[in-house]
Point group: D3
Chain length 339, copies 6
């Protein structure tokens, strides 16, 4: 079982100990990005995952590769070149103070990728699943073209294709997103998002929902999922449901429209260590579940439990095993010491 993901991995520079940017004299250096995070999750679950991107020939391009390779990700298809690695700065919030992300990704190596630059037939050889997020085409028209090219090749080679919509307002407008993403969606089998994504990317809006107020209506999400599936022919649509009580505490659950059934997951009350990468860890769990033949409900519960655990782990990557996820799915969220 081999999965390929394609996108940007960035240097992540985070203030320690919930300090504000202006207080920090040190920043914690790790790496992360939507599709890389999914690849790491899948390797942790024992699958083979390759991550495709472009990284500069400098110590930080090397650093990203070293990190991924150490965690078992196949990095052999990563192109090298370009001027810089994208950076994002993270200030982790607390209580009513929100986390702040400052992106510094303009001119990153991946943003210079053009269609034709990767040999997708070779990359997808032996693979059964291809995953990307809406961030990748948002990096620019050339990258969008390369993404579409990848999706078409994957489809032709019979891979299942998943896309996490992941709308980023600093990268493009809703109009740009809709125009570009709509073209790629024809290749996608599994769409993952939250209500904001569906609205921003495709103009599909649920009624009676107020995201910043933390109010979520299940009926509205079902409607959104069904509209998405109807419009693009997705076999599966997953929507994560985050209730943001504060920067420290969230409710976390998800729903899945799968084989025309709407499935709802258990809900977890999170005490948050780091919520960046939360959505990616859901995608990683869902892909694992579906790709290994679990039922829709089991795949959904695996994905939600996996991403529940992610929120307790610093950094973008969800460093948990199948056993740990299954223990939580099985009901043990008691946090008792494992001796």
């Amino acid at each position: 079982m081999k999965i390929v993901t394609f996108g940007e991995i960035m240097m992540r520079l985070a203030t320690p100990q919930r300090l504000r940017f202006s207080q920090a004299s040190q920043l914690e250096l790790t790496y992360g990005g939507g599709e890389a995070n999914v690849a790491v999750s899948l390797c942790n679950y024992g699958l083979d995952a390759a991550f495709v991107t472009k990284l500069p020939k400098n110590p930080f391009g090397e650093g990203a590769i070293q990190n991924l390779r150490g965690l078992g990700v196949d990095t052999s298809k990563i192109a090298r070149g370009g001027e810089r690695i994208g950076i994002y700065f993270l200030e982790t919030g607390a209580s009513q103070r929100a986390s702040v992300v400052v992106y510094d990704r303009a001119g990153s190596a991946i943003s210079g990728v053009k269609a034709g630059e990767f040999d997708w037939n070779s990359i997808f050889d032996g693979a059964s699943w291809f995953h990307f997020t809406g961030i990748t085409p948002a990096l620019g028209p050339d990258v969008a073209a390369a993404t579409k090219e990848a999706a078409r090749a994957a489809k032709e080679m019979g891979l299942t294709i998943s896309c996490d919509l992941n709308y980023r307002k600093k990268l493009w407008t809703p109009a740009q997103a809709q125009a570009t993403m709509s073209e790629i969606m024809e290749f996608v089998d599994v769409a993952i998002g939250n209500e904001e994504d569906a609205e921003k990317v495709f103009g599909i809006k649920a009624h009676g929902t107020d995201v910043s107020g933390g109010q979520i209506g299940h009926a509205g999400y079902e409607q959104v999922a069904r509209e998405l599936a109807g419009k693009f022919g997705f076999q599966t649509v997953a929507i994560t449901l985050r209730e943001s009580y504060s920067a420290d505490k969230n409710g976390w659950s998800a729903m899945l429209l799968h084989e025309n059934l709407v499935l709802n997951s258990r809900k977890y009350e999170l005490q948050i260590v780091d919520r960046v990468g939360g959505g990616d860890s859901f995608a990683g769990g869902l892909i694992y579940g579906l790709a290994t033949g679990k039922s829709g409900q089991d795949a959904l519960e695996f994905a939600v439990a996996a991403s529940c655990l992610k929120h307790s782990i610093a950094g973008d990557f969800n460093l948990v095993s199948v056993g740990e996820v299954e223990a939580l799915m099985g009901g043990d969220g008691s946090g008792r010491v494992q001796r």
Copy 2:
């Protein structure tokens, strides 16, 4: 709009990571003090603020100035001399374990200040507001005389004068506080305190309130505010209402007696990172609100929201912008990531 504050700034040495004093091999060095904290808040809100104190000619006197000046505070009126800067050691508590503050402020440069040492007419030139706290006169009879001198000068020059009562039992007895503070109160327009302050400084006590038990009666606070206003002619009295559930969790709100109306604020449930400076951040927010012509209710809500955010920030200073405070006032306490 220029505000002047006068008082002590201390070196703050805090154990990291909620360690007890006996466990710490490192202490985190910052600076803070009631009136300096207010000046920093005001600068963050875009006003001009000058902080007046006396600091020794040594690296730590310099350090305090460097810190304040970096944050935009006018430090040009700070006198230099004396032997030492006061120190306070902070052990941040957790759960049922309370935070511990050990003061080591005897003999600090500011405590040697005498009436006549500062040229208040020059200092207040162009200013519209003067703020001090009850800590300053508590540093000794000479400092008390200097404080009274400052308040009289400010009154004569037409400034609005605010005082945060801030009773400190290690500095003086209630009897001493009452004798000294009563003489200065005649110059004060805006009094800020909590129930303990009113009782300890002026013997004004609310009925049916148990501070350590976390029980707070609104009616009692209204009574205290009205008694204070009646006794000293304050135009405005603000009382902060802290419900201490534990060292990590507090309820936080405030009431304001303003233009003879009693106004009550929204209440926030705090997950605390650092509660030192919480009251000062309220004072900073209130002064900002009143000085910029907000209504009483708006000024109160701004002050409470500002100080709510302070509890999520390490150190004495409230490092937030007007925009961040207003976002919280506007209802977004969800802590969603700001990308």
Copy 3:
């Protein structure tokens, strides 16, 4: 009032900041172990406590002694020799992610101790209480023999003897535990445990209790305590009741069967900094209470309040004073700053 404890002290290497093992580039080095932790508690409460163990002649054997001696523990009876100090690695969990302990204690100096190696008559001279835990005999048949020898000597010399059952599944099977422990229980006056201990060590099981689910039935615990007392003639049986909501939050209380009465403690809601050593801090508090002549209820409340505070303190040791425990017993768990 002199208390002697006997057992293993280990090097504790913990990841900082709730990192997973695979993320840590630094480990925090302290020392701890069931009986040593009790000795530290007792010294903090002003009693004399000696800790007996065997430690290698290397910097880490020295380190453990330096730590204990600094905290006032009498280390003069510690034997020196053997090859290594046992180690345990700790990864502190968060939210639904459980803490993980990896033991590396095989071949530790204490595990090579044989009966006859310690001069118990000399060690117990002047002492009135002897404490050990079920971990010590679990270290091997020779250590079990030495433990029994110690208990017999203590009994003959008139000391009160307490045992914290502390079942460790990585050290022995329930069958082994029962065979060995049953022989030593005849000397024990005060037994301390939780439901799992009683079941694993003696096969005594409460009905209707699901530990990992966080459901605890008081009636079941009373039954367990009475069965234990009936079987081994314990004068006192204490059972701690932990409700594990998550790795961060627990409910914490205890019950005591004492002079044939069942006493129940107040319950605390814990926001956890470090729960390792929580049970030991209860034992330390209970021994303090009983040894200084408090009533059963007072000793129980002291023990529970003491161990409540422990959960807010990093490391194995409960670094609190009698005054701090009594303040909490007296109802002040508000965490207000102690200035």
Copy 4:
């Protein structure tokens, strides 16, 4: 005495403890840049210095300003706008392993500055000295035009103008440097450089010198200085002489061609803590000396002693006082504790 400097300030992200980039999980965050470093030196010496640049409206633009303002630099003329602050990553070497700098400065706010964007007449009002380095025009043709514009305005307003040649091979080629710099040199009174600069920027080469081999011929430097002065009409030419024995140990001295005399400084043997900013600290010392009317020899010795001390200080900034520099000039390099 007011000095104005103009150029780029970057975020500096350095590995701690001489780690290689691939080993670091934390980076130390400070700010620095040639002209900002000079401004800081001058403020430390008690002069007024304003630093002119453009910085983005984000937390790191603010951070740079907060840092400079804290150290007393006038930041009121800094323009705000653009997308990002330039970054440089620093890996400090040791022994035979060289330090490595990775620049990530493309697209920085300052690089988008155009002629006409700053009101130089207002900026230079009341100033007597203008300083810039060869890095500023190297940032692009527009910035070069703005630099020339500034130099012309300064000249017209009667300021003394100094330029540290500072050739950066990653920013431009020698041919580009020569074409651009030659046009600006007509306004310059004081040129500062090392032999490599003179060769790379103006093709002026000393004979018999091997920089990487650490061999320096004084006669060659005199020749270079005289050629430079002859070609551009500089009143003063300073050349720093670094003998690189290893990453830890350098010899450090300088020569000055001043009023047509060649002056040689004392030579210091450096044990290096941080050599980035070493040249800037020399420039800062020299400007201080010349601007305050010291003799050429005294200004030179002040500059060399100041920059000697800089090599013992972490970060770009030379945090020393006139008194400390003069103590070293006076012969006390013994490093005895100052109690």
Copy 5:
């Protein structure tokens, strides 16, 4: 070009900042071991290297693999099982105070390896070089048998075999070493050691050499190399020559007996950051040189320059590239900043 190494990798726990063990509250966690260090060097030089060992199925076995794999080492042949990973504690010295290593390796997974446990034919498939050190057979008779088995298989499959003698007095006596090692030497082509190794392992002693006094006689080393080659038929013998002036400063060079010629290297004066792994980095450089067909002198100079750089790098691994080594070989040890 594929190289296989076989041996132990340990957890390395080092005090930070040259602290003594008794001062450290944190230990820095990395991994290292003679043969693993060589494999890392070879991967850094662009060769394929596989490291064979046995590691427990716990987070630290995983951690070692994650580290090696991140650096490009083929870890697919590592056996999993056993109880623990060996540990070594390192206190880095300074000036006249020596570094101290405390080994805690008894019972490590690798020490339980038996002949027949690894499928050497499969492991060596496609490889051209096999490397091990004298530490591996010293771990016990079973491991010694497995090592011999590996060497025999490698010889039969036509690989070149190198052995770093690496005598460890805490693992065995000279007599034991000699008996065991002599049997394995028949398979070895390239022997690496220092004078102490030759003496301790084979009783071959140079005249007129005082290791702790830092006096090294070249003639003596030539004699030792020739005796070694004569006795065991080595094609190549390398001897590293360390002159220990202090814990911070060493002289470092080596000699090579190759094709019956004695070759002497350039000598480097080291300012030491970390000297653990210094010998391994020499072996890694030598294998690289010889395996890629360099002349004896070039291979020797590469090895010495590579290991010179290692002493400037924290941790066991020599994180340098071929380009960096060749720059130093080419004469640039000036440590000038690489911008």
Copy 6:
């Protein structure tokens, strides 16, 4: 063999990593003081040492005691009371930049000690040696009287008395020092100092010596020692000879006038980690040597070797064993790894 020392122990707050005070956001917390440092040395050498002082009843008084007791010092005679513990801030220098100490010791508990406050007969019971430094009487007339009282009692009880002159210019003038110290010297058997001490305290000056220039004349020191012995009847006079080349590098040796012979020690070239406490470590070594009956030359060499090692250790305390000192005395300063 029991030794008693009497004096002040302070909280030491040092910047990490050779940062300047203005750069530090953390300070490293340890404890130290002349006489406490000597007591720690003696305990490390296996002798019994009691340290007598007065410390406040707060966490930092406790911290100092916990530290000393952990290292084996008898702290049972320490008086508790007073307001604060003295503090000294340390900025460790590098290269030509000197270390800076800022004292904040006014009002410390020990400075309030009066004659009659300690029961010296009880304290000296069973002791054979009493040690103090010139800092103790310099803390004020009352403490001077208490010191004299202690010295007289020690003399009457037959103890050997040593005094490290330790002149501190911030505590008193030479005239004050001479008047007070002369009175106490009559009880002293062993005087320890450097040339500056002798000159400042007693006006005894060597010819041809320039301390800050690092020039030391042996003949001059012999003259000073003989004058001191002649004037006060000292049996033994030791003078430490520090050659300060830089903050990192010193030469270190000593001379001893003992039984009327002048003895000169070996000289060590130090690479300095921390030189605070260097003189105290010499005193500790000398007392150990003399008190255990070594010859003058052996005691001197032990003292110099011990204090050589101290300079490689962070903090005030000399954490070395007799074995480590003797290894260095025996000639092994090579710093080879001790495995």
